[in-house]
Assembly symmetry: C2
Homo-oligomer: 404 residues x 2
């Protein structure tokens, strides 16, 4: 018998309660033991909810109840959530979370605390919503040296880019539509500036490469600089603009992680990932490329990932599973200064000036381009080399091109 407390009765938290109830018999059968909701912690009451009777307002009730052995943290953020997670782990309870910010910022310490207390700290739902990625990355790819992770990690920005590409909506209008449809929050900063994708690539990279990589170590560019002009130029060469989170381990063992818009070939699997879907490509030295695809967010998909972790924790009460990594530190992650790629450049310049600066380029065309605008694809080089060559050119946009 496992008793569960859910912290935070928002979208994901209420989804967890629903999935636990809806699939209850199925869950008990798979765990070979009963898994029961006991508390829901929230500052609010929910008198009209079928879960009203579970609501408590004081975390100490949960902390001090020895019957509760699994705590689901769906509060979000890295303050209260961190305090309650530490207290729950310290009280010998396993914690399951969908909180990417907390895992990206404090995952190492929390996993260490869980190990010391002999309990689990599980976070499958923190990346890719319902897509199974954390456990496959750790277990099924165990036999591979992973060399690169590359993914569309944020559904909101992918929805906005899809609307720009398919319907020609300008960024601001696509964002507004995303907000209307509930795909973007009133304050969309964390999504559109790439912070959310950054946290997720940090979690994936930390797990894949074994050392904590912090968001502050990951150069992050969002999609606010993507214009319909760029979309049109990308289309003219059979490519789509996608916001990618990438982490590359080079021979020196250090990881280059970054988040930025990329031009992706239309025939690449990632190019077909549209709307709010997410996809994560993992490259291993034996396995080649594998991709995991699905809804990256949403109440029930995310809740089902949380519940799968709850079941894992329930099944392994006397032998917790560690999905952990080592400490971060200087030299674990490097800025992607030496990551070469072709580049897409849109500038205010004469074609001869661009060719003079960049050498061998492919010129792109779009209908309605203003006089003086030029757009090209370059050969492969580092960002530093590109900037050096373009230092006298008036630039609009510079995006990486993802190589096949």
């Amino acid at each position: 018998m496992s008793k569960v407390a859910i912290l935070g009765f928002g979208v994901v938290g209420s989804g967890v309660a629903e999935v636990l109830q809806r699939n209850g018999a199925h869950i008990d059968e798979k765990v070979h033991s009963k898994v029961e909701l006991k508390y829901i912690l929230d500052v609010r009451d929910f008198p009209d909810s079928p879960f009203a009777a579970y609501v408590v307002h004081d975390f100490a009730v949960i902390e001090k109840d020895p019957e509760v052995d699994i705590v689901v943290e769906t509060i979000g953020g890295a303050k209260v959530a961190r305090e309650f997670t530490e207290r729950a782990l310290s009280a010998g309870k396993s914690v399951v979370t969908s909180n990417k910010e907390l895992v990206a910022e404090h995952g190492y310490e929390l996993m260490k605390l869980a190990q010391e207390k002999g309990v689990s700290y599980l976070y499958e739902a923190s990346v890719g919503g319902g897509i199974p990625i954390i456990r496959p990355l750790k277990q099924c790819l165990a036999a591979n040296e992973i060399t690169e992770i590359c993914g569309i990690l944020n559904g909101t920005t992918n929805y906005i880019l899809t609307r720009m590409i398919r319907s020609g909506l300008p960024f601001a209008q696509a964002l507004k539509e995303a907000q209307t449809n509930g795909y973007a929050e009133a304050d969309p900063t964390a999504d559109i500036e790439g912070h959310d994708a950054c946290r997720k690539i940090c979690i994936l990279a930390s797990l894949a490469f074994g050392r904590h990589i912090y968001p502050k170590e990951v150069p992050t560019e969002g999609i606010t600089g993507v214009s319909l002009a760029d979309v049109a130029y990308a289309d003219s060469c059979g490519r789509k603009i996608k916001l990618l989170g990438r982490a590359i381990r080079k021979e020196d063992g250090k990881v280059r992680a970054f988040v930025a818009p990329h031009l992706v070939s239309g025939s690449a699997p990632l190019a077909g990932v549209e709307d709010v879907f997410n996809a994560i490509t993992v490259r291993g030295n034996a396995i080649g490329d594998v991709m995991f695809y699905g809804r990256g967010a949403g109440k029930l998909p995310t809740a089902s990932a949380v519940v799968a972790d709850v079941m894992e924790a329930a099944r392994n009460r006397d032998r917790p599973k560690f999905m952990d990594w080592g400490p971060g530190g200087s030299g674990v992650a490097l800025p992607p200064l030496d990551v070469e790629s072709p580049w897409y450049v849109r500038a205010e310049a004469a074609p001869e000036a661009i060719r003079g600066a960049l050498g061998d380029v492919t010129f792109l065309a779009r209908a309605g381009a203003p006089a003086g605008e030029v757009a090209v694809l370059t050969v492969s080089m580092t960002r530093g080399e590109l900037e050096e060559r373009l230092k006298d050119i008036s630039l609009h946009t510079v995006f990486r091109v993802l190589e096949d």
Copy 2:
């Protein structure tokens, strides 16, 4: 310390030896214990191989060596492989396999034997080559009631279809090219007649739905009936022909599993799966659709999946993991008689006769169609209803259309 014996030094078996060696330090670190190759069983000697010293010819050597606790079975087939698997499990050794035929035909008994002996029988590599699918299906989707599995499960046929679609090669020529490139065997029957895909959908369906579903219960149609005319008609309506293995659980709890060519919408994720790649879509009641994509075959991808299972077995020696299902039996699987879908029909008939028989249809066109040929997409109906309506029509091809 775990000692490993590999049965069969063919493509996959030699790949396993290579991955164990190449990633040895990494594997030991992840398992927190040494994992060492001790024997390779084969009828042949391999004097020029770096693994020559490991080769033995008598299974009894392995069976009787108490140091060997993990046996990798990459022999294939359901005869010798079955005997050695039973003997290894009976001797208290865990068995890891890439043998889809053996798992599809005898998985239930072998898993039961493993449970009785307190060891593991693991088969991640039997489906999807290196794509992690067995463990995610069992563990990460645990919180979902799975309703459907649909996949491109055979790389050979997907390669042939891709060459027909993209380069206009006729079937026979595309098959020959696949053989030249090592993607199809000299006797390609198991691939092109759908038997290989059938075994894989049996394994996935048995695991997802909890009861053994046998290949003989799964109506199976290969790709030998796919012509360039069908490819052209499919293209005319924005679709691609793909060989799909499907398993659908309806409200009555019974599973309809089948393998057949389908017309798939060009915008569906499965349509973008080309060449020898495989992809498996899983639909759950909470998670929605998730897809797993990667190389479905090949020496190192498959070997890496085997080695991941070896590591799992090594880590859980005193507490084996059961990736099991219950017994099969009458009524577990039903033929897909009541599975409705739209249909693609190519026939020798007058358009009025087709419309008279089928009612509301969409006529398709292709360049160079001979007089008297007609092709349509129907509304949704069962195969029985379709056949009843078409009983007086001279048919060329009938394929299902996959609904979005």
